[in-house]
């Protein structure tokens, strides 16, 4: 069985062919294993789980034989899992040195739901440390590499972050889909950089239980796939109420795939003027215009809207997210799990904490934990943290106002640029934070957002459009995304160099 069989294979196709009996889960699993082994240069898969994959695939074949067309959607589908998800008995390090050696005794709710459907885990995927980053360059495993190259150039490009390994693995056809998480754009930005689809569901749709926490009021898991239909299939399987996460929504999850009828006539699509940035590349502007044309062609009504607090989203995010992170990451103390620093004679418990955290956390994580500590400290709490939370209320209200005016969804570019070379960032953390300028508002407002590949830049790199929907209306959002997908006709593939 050759790894080539995964080229362009979608979850929907694989499902249908397995149900019909002309493809076996064990064969797809072997193809995925071969593909992963042949793609080490991408550094996308950081912990192989091939034996688990083989066992799960054999079990899936039994279910497929017994149930045929009634087998669950994901039965036998090979997936990659972001290292942020706790998977029982399998390393789950959140891309951090401080969790070296950690093998959870439990399974995250999202991955549990996937395995219950018969999905197959091929491996754990690279990511920025604790999901803090936009280029996958803060990982303890080293950079993940984008399968795409600019023109005939050979420079290694970032797959984006923090779900960089997930994006690279799906774009390079190593797996049929991957889980990601999105706190400020970590699903949508890497999806845009690698020419795939990434959905961040409404806050509360997917259980956060067993997902290593970064900023709990913003974190949300979601699917990263080759097509919108696959995002509907994998997304639906990841969603659902979980009593173990008190912010998980007790709402029925509709059959998202069945909602993809392609009919978006009469839908009102808002185009926010605040997303037109000074110095935005002409190609991004042109892609956005093309997106408007595609939706108009599909029968939607385009409407200019205003989201007046947009420019304050990133600064608010860079108070709220570090504040929550400093609290969440307090648990990494070298006592209960992970790595403890070697101690000197006479070192007490404080030295143990300080040395363990200095050794175990990378620069960006340390920076954010300390910024969070500062904005929460006595005397600054009101000036920074409370002010940021007030601004967050206003950002959310911007969206509520346009939705109340009859807007069904909002169209924006997904990112301010295409993928950039690894190592090219200036070293100024604020410059890196600007990657999230179009995506971070959506997390602050708790809304669903999706990135759809919609075109190529002059160097042949993929660019994505973002659609933002009303709360809980992932089905309608996916349907709109499919209208863009159909008209964009994005069929380009990275040339294989790995």
């Amino acid at each position: 069985m050759s790894a080539d069989m995964l080229q362009g294979l979608t979850i929907a196709d694989a499902r249908d062919r397995m149900r019909a009996g002309d493809l076996r889960a064990t064969d797809i699993a072997e193809a995925a294993i071969e593909a992963v082994e042949g793609a080490r240069a991408l550094n996308a898969v950081v912990h192989d789980t091939f034996e688990i994959a083989r066992t799960q695939a054999a079990a899936a074949d039994d279910v497929l034989r017994a149930r045929g067309a009634d087998a669950p959607d994901l039965c036998g589908i090979p997936l990659g899992i972001k290292d942020l998800f706790c998977t029982e008995g399998v390393p789950s390090q959140a891309g951090s040195r401080i969790l070296e050696g950690f093998r959870p005794e439990y399974e995250s709710t999202v991955t549990r739901q996937l395995w219950d459907q018969g999905a197959v885990m091929v491996g754990k995927l690279n990511m920025d440390e604790f999901a803090m980053g936009s280029s996958n360059e803060t990982s303890t495993y080293g950079d993940a590499v984008n399968p795409w190259k600019a023109g005939e150039g050979d420079a290694a490009l970032t797959p984006g972050g923090s779900s960089g390994g997930s994006a690279a693995a799906v774009a390079a056809d190593l797996v049929l889909g991957a889980t990601g998480t999105d706190t400020g754009g970590s699903i949508r930005q890497p999806a845009a950089f690698t020419g795939i689809v990434g959905l961040k569901p409404t806050y509360g749709r997917c259980s956060r239980w067993g997902i290593v926490a970064f900023a709990s009021s913003l974190d949300q898991a979601g699917p990263m796939t080759k097509t919108v239909r696959d995002a509907a299939i994998l997304g639906r399987a990841m969603m659902g109420h979980d009593p173990q996460d008190s912010t998980s929504a007790d709402r029925a999850v509709p059959d998202l795939e069945a909602m993809l009828d392609g009919d978006v006539r009469g839908k009102v699509i808002g185009v926010p003027k605040e997303y037109r940035l000074d110095g935005m590349p002409g190609e991004i502007e042109a892609l956005w215009a093309e997106g408007r044309r595609m939706l108009a062609d599909a029968g939607a009504e385009l409407r200019d809207i205003t989201l007046p607090h947009t420019k304050y989203a990133l600064p608010a995010y860079y108070v709220i997210a570090p504040a929550e992170a400093s609290s969440n990451l307090a648990r990494y103390d070298g006592v209960r799990y992970g790595r403890r620093a070697a101690l000197d004679q006479g070192d007490g418990v404080t030295e143990m904490y300080e040395k363990t955290r200095a050794e175990g956390f990378g620069d960006e994580v340390q920076r954010r934990v300390m910024v969070g500590t500062y904005v929460l400290s006595a005397g600054f709490y009101d000036a920074y943290y409370n002010r940021a939370r007030r601004v967050r209320t206003l950002i959310k209200k911007d969206f509520e106002d346009v939705f109340a005016d009859g807007v069904d969804a909002i169209l924006t570019p997904a990112t301010p640029s295409a993928a950039f070379p690894l190592g090219s960032a200036s070293g100024d953390p604020v410059q890196m934070y600007l990657n999230d300028v179009f995506t971070v508002t959506v997390n602050l407002a708790g809304l669903p957002g999706i990135s759809v590949p919609a075109g190529l830049d002059a160097r042949g790199l993929p660019l994505g459009l973002q659609l933002v929907g009303r709360p809980w209306e992932e089905g309608e959002l996916l349907n709109l995304a499919s209208a863009v997908e159909e008209r964009a006709g994005f069929v380009a593939r990275p040339r294989r160099w790995w």
């Binding site: 093998r103 009593p243 300390m370 601004v391």
Partner: protein, 96 residues
């Protein structure tokens, strides 16, 4: 508001329980200054009378029966501990 000096960086590092070598304090203070300078734009926003957001999705926290639903697995709890002895997490001497 955001004049961050090396002394402030030292204090924050201490609060965050992260050992920062002396020579890193000044550059760190500069990085904090840049980040906090960036977030100071928030001062332009009129937030008079605006409630700070606590939860992004309005929902009542669910309640459940106040009963023990888990436990009795000290071995599994200690499985990932860097050091455990006799059913306990082990740490260096705590002297205050």
């Amino acid at each position: 508001m955001s004049e961050i000096d090396a002394e402030t960086a030292r204090r924050v590092a201490k609060l965050a329980r992260i050992a920062v070598p002396e020579e890193r304090l000044a550059p760190l203070a500069e990085e904090f200054g840049r980040i906090l300078g960036f977030v100071e734009q928030l001062n332009e926003v009129d937030v008079e009378g605006v409630e700070p957001m606590t939860g992004v999705t309005p929902m009542r926290l669910k309640r459940r029966e106040d009963v023990v639903t888990s436990g009795g697995m000290p071995d599994r709890i200690l499985k990932n501990a860097p050091e455990a002895r006799e059913g306990f997490f082990a740490v260096p001497k705590v002297v205050e």
